[in-house]
Symmetry: C2
Subunit: 225 residues, 2 copies
Amino acid sequence: MTRHISEQFDAELDAIQLKLLEMGGLAENQVKNAAAAFVAHNGDLAGEVRGNDRSVNALELAIDEDCTHIIARRQPAASDLRRVIAIMKAGTDLERVGDEAKRIAKSAQAIEGYERPDHEYAEIRRLSTLVSTMLTKSLDAFARTDVDDAFAIIDLDDEIDSLHQDVIDRTQASLESGETPAREALAHIMVARALERIGDHAKNICEYLVYVAKGEDVRHAPRSS
Amino acid sequence: MTRHISEQFDAELDAIQLKLLEMGGLAENQVKNAAAAFVAHNGDLAGEVRGNDRSVNALELAIDEDCTHIIARRQPAASDLRRVIAIMKAGTDLERVGDEAKRIAKSAQAIEGYERPDHEYAEIRRLSTLVSTMLTKSLDAFARTDVDDAFAIIDLDDEIDSLHQDVIDRTQASLESGETPAREALAHIMVARALERIGDHAKNICEYLVYVAKGEDVRHAPRSS
């Protein structure tokens, strides 16, 4: 009952998972380029990111279709079914990661002509590196079904949330003091929020993995330390 | 092949769909209360909204579990499987709607002690009414598998996007002119963004319905007028 018997199923599932990892790689690139475009006030790169979002979306649809087909044809049970569903959900999260990258790119375009501030977005760069690492690690853990890693990655989210809050507070203060122009401050805050949300998506992917591996759902569950 | 033969399946699917509608009702209430709390600078109501988010999350988990079980036990094919998957996806969107309501509530708390502005958030109130209507209608269309309605609701999203952009532009201008304090302006913009995203989720739900009814995926597809 709880073990599938078909090697064909395994091969098909591996192929879908590969597609998910490909999508993850694309989404990661989008995030990195969007953040780079923002930090450098590079409108052209931002435009590229906005255009590339289509490829991320197309992969989500393909993964959804593959997952529906494998369920209909192979009728997987228990942990196999959970994995297919987890892949489908992870695909949705990656699509939203792509949307956030697009939002970052939009913010980059909004301040394209502005002079770069003295702080050179040190915090955004740190946040973006953290979030990209978290995303890479979450997909890697997902591919290897490494639950210990998944829990470690979930814990990273606290660091991201706190760094994100720092950016918001500091930018708000510098907006209030008149140091930063409104449009620049708003863009800065929007980018920090988008990065924080990308961290949430990476966390979701880890939580799906825990659900696959343990058959328990850790979403929305209070964590004991 | 394309028609299920079990009345039992229908009864179980109806029960899950009912749970989705219950979740939709809860999410709608959360949005309405969060927007009301923001407009009235009512921190207590905002606190209630933040606390109630747990109930929305719990329903998502229950729906996910029901959907996984019905797929494993009943092995639905074709349109039945598509409907189960669509319900699961809609549940995820409603959970995110709840998250946005929580974010609105957080913004309400951020400006709790502030004096209410002269415009009394006319635009936010209009945006919130529009978005709530869109959410109600999308769930209603989903329950009745009404594809024509779904398309009409998807079109509503343009109005929401444009109203949202108006709020952003106007608030940014009034922030630049020094008319609105920074914290108030930021909260205002955050709430507009959250409402706009709720509209996106309602649109997603309609798109899942089209996918169920027609077996075609309209997400990310350019619409011809």
